[in-house]
């Protein structure tokens, strides 16, 4: 069994934290894992992407082949669409519905019409959910919770344990907030 994910967003939105948690859970579950990140200049408000490959057998390539991703998990709706050639025909997109507008002409219409023809899209307003629940810094964990319903290779419990592992050093309040955010996304 294998599960390939493309994580996307804008530099600073916290996609690497999501990647770190899934990777920690995979390590704990004894799975093979490859996680390719982007560091450096593109992080300055530019498009960022991370490929995450989980499997119970050896994984060779750090990069995903096209048409192989089971999921595109995105902190930003337009950013998810950049990586569509990597998505399997029956793969799903789990994305924040909130555009990140740090560019001049945000193509609202192109984004809307692209989503209309995609079969398996789960879009949620993680920023409003984060605000309503007083979790301003945990929008990315709401998104991870929503994705957890579909990541069959890991259980929600395994992911939650890894939230504890990753945020533990920042204290119990931070961990609890992130666990609560995860549950809100999961139950949404």
């Amino acid at each position: 069994m294998k599960y390939d994910i493309i994580l996307s967003g804008v530099g600073g939105q916290g996609i690497l934290s999501i990647a770190t948690i899934i990777a920690d859970a995979a390590l704990g579950a004894g799975l093979y894992l490859k996680q390719a990140e982007v560091h450096g200049m593109s992080q300055r408000g530019g498009a960022v992407e991370s490929g995450l490959r989980l499997s119970d057998s050896v994984i060779y390539s750090d990069l995903l082949p096209s048409g192989s991703a089971d999921m595109i998990l995105s902190m930003e709706p337009m950013e998810a669409l950049r990586y569509l050639p990597f998505l399997k025909k029956d793969g799903c997109i789990v994305t924040s519905s909130v555009p990140f507008r740090n560019i001049g002409d945000y193509p609202e219409e192109a984004v809307r019409s692209a989503y209309q023809v995609l079969p398996r899209t789960f879009s949620l307003d993680i920023e409003t959910l984060a605000k309503e629940n007083s979790l301003p810094k945990s929008a990315n964990m709401i998104l991870l919770g929503a994705a957890a319903r579909h990541i069959g290779i890991l259980t929600p419990e395994q992911l939650k344990e890894s939230i504890g592992n990753v945020f533990g050093k920042k204290g119990p309040a931070v961990t609890d907030a992130n666990l609560r955010a995860f549950d809100i996304g999961y139950n949404h």
């Binding site: 990777a23 894992l33 390719a36 082949p65 096209s66 669409l81």
Partner: protein
């Protein structure tokens, strides 16, 4: 006891070096190599281990410092991005002439596709140029395992060893089995033989003879290397054979080459093992070479198998000549037809990187653009760092960016040819890396240039490492001979815009070398400090 850790390729190199008895890492930050040194800086028992790990001023000083540590009998490592090899090259090439005492490993991280670089140069050429062993890992585990092997190899052969990474491995994470008790390294006695270490022509000729005559032995070591292997199908006969290295090998395996009956020669160590290449050639009709970077293996293979043998690769168009490889390009080279996939929607907007909101470089460019609008002949020679983003809208404020330090020297050359105003824009860390010597040239020639050292108190683009010249810039410029009244400090904030533009105007109008230092902390490092101070306050409150 063995432990499993989730590590970037860079971190695997760092941990492998630590476990192999490293005594010092010397480096200048550069994507994608920065995390090697950072991992050692953050390593919990660093103080217990006593490993030197503060940043060097540039790659050349780093290389020489590491060579000095090797001379003293300890294991040292130098890390840099590929273009850093150009800066370190004098020391690097000559370290192969002196040879080493304590093991010395040079790590060069190449950047195919130029994710964060200005060219695609392939560091393996430097290894061949200096005639030393080169190692190239395919996986994070190999990156870890190669370090103790590399230090042993270096000490056995008395030569520096080059380890070549690419971005894709350096910045990809995977589980690594590591063994902290692997090694009980004891440093050697300091070197004593000036006849090896003083490269007077008479000594150098002898060393050159020794280095040249070591080459057949180095090739034999490559042939026997635990990191090279020839996997052969049962039939021992195939139309196509593959030579692959580094991440290229992973894409070959991802595409199931072995299970399709294609023999694969994996290269993990150079100089290239001729016997292995001839063995592969003997069981195939043609060979596909799969390597990230420039066609380094592909060009050499002809020499082993003869000009008539068919070699496929980047030179023949079987694989793209530029950019990093990926599973899809390798699949096509293997003759696979791609399945149809979703297309990227048209009309998506590009989202290029940009200077952070609130960044001081922004104010510098706003001020420069304001002033230079009244000088139609003005040219701005910029440099390597976040502020290179001043090339993009809305600023479009710079005319050149070439290599570390070239802002000051290109401005000087252009001023010599009559360009006015010739303005250099350089960051604080880049200035101490390679800008100071150029400023001395300008002072000695009384060149008519205006140098802007945009000082954000850190090496920002690579993530906020210490900057070698912090608090020393006025003193450095004055000591190099810039008139003290033409070393001007301003604070780049929009409320100071009138002041800043007035200073720029005055210094442009001054006939000679002037330096303007807009100084304000990088907002990323400032925010990080504020957060960690906030956490400390909370911790104190809880107690």
């Amino acid at each position: 006891m063995e432990e499993r850790k989730l590590l970037l390729g860079d971190e695997a190199v760092a941990l492998g070096a630590i476990h192999a008895g490293l005594r010092g890492v010397y480096a200048y930050p550069g994507t994608p190599s920065t995390e090697i040194t950072e991992y050692i800086q953050m390593y919990e028992s660093r103080y217990a281990a006593g490993i030197h790990c503060s940043w060097s001023t540039n790659e050349k000083t780093a290389m020489e410092e590491a060579l000095g540590m090797s001379y003293a009998g300890c294991r040292s490592m130098v890390c840099m991005k590929h273009v850093g090899m150009n800066v370190a090259a004098d020391a690097f090439v000559n370290s192969a002439m002196t040879g080493v005492n304590g093991g010395l490993v040079v790590v060069a991280a190449d950047d195919p596709s130029m994710h964060s670089s200005q060219n695609e140069q392939d560091s393996r050429f430097y290894g061949k140029f200096a005639m030393i062993p080169v190692l190239e890992p395919s996986t994070q585990q190999e990156a870890y395992d190669m370090m103790s092997y590399a230090f042993d190899l270096s000490e056995n052969e008395k030569l520096p060893v080059l380890l070549r990474l690419t971005t894709r491995l350096a910045h990809s994470r995977s589980a690594v089995a590591a063994d902290p008790d692997l090694y009980d390294y004891r440093p050697l006695e300091p070197a004593r033989d000036p006849s090896s270490w003083v490269l007077l022509p008479a000594n150098a000729r002898r060393r050159n003879q020794a280095l040249t005559s070591a080459q057949p032995r180095l090739e034999k070591l490559s042939s026997e290397s635990p990191f090279s292997s020839l996997s052969v199908p049962e039939s021992r006969r195939s139309a196509l054979g593959i030579i692959a290295c580094g991440t290229g090998y992973n894409y070959v395996m991802e595409n199931g080459a072995l299970s399709s009956g294609i023999p694969v020669l994996k290269i993990g160590q150079y100089p290239l093992p001729g016997d292995r290449i001839r063995e592969l050639a003997g069981m195939c009709d043609r060979i596909l070479v799969v390597e990230d970077g420039q066609p380094f293996i592909e060009e050499q293979v002809k020499g082993f198998v003869g000009a008539d043998y068919e070699i496929l690769g980047k030179l023949t168009g079987a694989l793209p000549r530029t950019g990093e490889l990926n599973p899809d390009t390798v699949a096509r080279a293997l003759g696979k037809t791609p399945e149809p996939v979703y297309a990227t929607p048209r009309n998506l907007a590009a989202r290029p990187p940009a200077l952070c909101l609130g960044c001081g470089h922004r104010d510098v460019y706003i001020a420069l653009n304001k002033v230079l609008a009244s000088y139609p002949g003005a040219r701005v020679f910029a440099d390597i760092g976040c502020y290179t983003l001043g090339a993009l809208p809305p600023f479009c404020a710079i005319d050149t960016c070439v290599d570390m330090g070239a802002s000051v020297t290109m401005a000087k050359g252009a001023a010599d040819a009559g360009i006015f105003p010739a303005v250099a824009v350089i960051g604080d860390s880049t200035f101490t890396h390679s800008g100071m010597t150029g400023l001395l040239d300008a002072v000695n020639d009384r060149s008519n240039i205006t140098v802007v050292i945009s000082d954000n108190l850190t090496t920002a683009m690579t993530g906020g490492q210490d900057s070698a010249g912090t608090n020393k810039f006025e003193a450095i410029c004055i000591a190099l001979g810039v008139e003290p009244e033409h070393v001007r400090v301003v604070v780049p904030l929009s409320r100071n815009m009138d002041d800043i533009t007035a200073v720029i105007r005055e210094e442009i109008d001054y006939q000679g070398v002037s330096v303007i230092i807009p100084r304000r902390e990088c907002i990323q490092t400032a925010a990080r400090k504020a957060r960690s101070a906030g956490n400390d306050i909370k911790k104190t409150e809880r107690k």
